[in-house]
Symmetry: C2
Subunit: 192 residues, 2 copies
């Protein structure tokens, strides 16, 4: 039996994307976005949604670029901090002791201490309502050697990514592997 | 030390959204989307990206509606199946023994057996490249009573949501709660 919870933003999982950008004076800033996700395979693209009131909103529009820095479990405090305060009030890199690295592909900073970094060029802007959606083309993904697994991509058990629960506002870790995609059998084969 | 992995769609986590729609003859269809996420708080909206070649792509464009059905761990087989085959070739509801329920809010079917359901009206269409992004306004979220926790929203430990790793193509479960959002202290307070 289902209960109606009304028109609201519940989905599972949502990511914890730490978004890097430069302001008009070249100061690096960070914010956190749970509203976002990959949105195209070719060109490889990722979407993030920001309220116009955020400092990063104007930074990204003007610079035409952003990075997505993906935290591991041990970076939850930093991810939560950048999602709580505004870059208008504090220098988040300085307060957290994080290291901004200027991308050589786009006009945006990434965070040295984060294990996975996406460097993105702003390709589309969509005004949806309270949030503006920025679609960025992913020009490169940079990954710490220490979390790369046998097959040359991040190993979830090494990366220890986190996700956000918008219902309870909790952060969660990754659990066990449950299976591999595209292993479903054809219905006609199942019947043989 | 970071290694460059090139321009590709890696992000952690990505969701496993099972998308429901009707074709022009009113037949219910399902597909799986890992490219998507919440994209606006007001109006509450969710984005999914589909290749034009999918059967659902035309169904959603014509019907102007879709549902997102969020699987728990015990629905991985069904989620993988709907992501592997095309609604042009098989009736996925029938093959999987799932029950389509006609939404009374939008012209789309949701899946009775899935614990969380979002009923969405198509509000925006963005052509990005290989994928078309559909932005739907969430008109209601329906949740199985059995997964609702004390605070009236889904409890992650009861819901047991899954996420997808686009690097290895693995499905993963949710791990332990690691903390609550918006608990970061103001920098000036930390110094007191």
């Amino acid at each position: 039996m289902k209960r109606s919870l009304g028109a609201r933003t519940l989905a599972y999982p949502t990511p914890v994307f730490v978004v890097g950008s430069y302001d008009s004076e070249g100061n690096p800033n960070l914010m956190a976005a749970a509203w976002g996700g990959i949105c195209c395979s070719k060109p490889p693209s990722v979407a993030i949604s920001l309220r116009a009131a955020t400092y990063s909103h104007g930074c990204i529009r003007e610079s035409g670029a952003f990075t997505i820095n993906i935290p591991s479990e041990d970076l939850i405090r930093e991810a939560d901090y950048v999602g709580t305060f505004s870059g208008r009030d504090v220098d988040k890199f300085q307060e957290l002791g994080l290291t901004p690295v200027k991308s050589d592909l786009v006009n945006a900073p990434w965070v040295e201490e984060f294990p996975v970094v996406l460097e993105c060029r702003l390709n589309h802007t969509l005004e949806i309502g309270m949030h503006t959606q920025y679609v960025g083309e992913i020009l490169d993904v940079k990954v710490d050697e220490s979390v790369i697994g046998e097959n040359g991509v991040p190993d979830i058990e090494l990366l220890k990514p986190i996700f956000y629960d918008p219902g309870t506002r909790g952060y969660y870790g990754a659990g066990s592997i449950l299976g591999m995609a595209y292993t479903a059998k054809r219905p006609d084969k199942e019947r043989e």
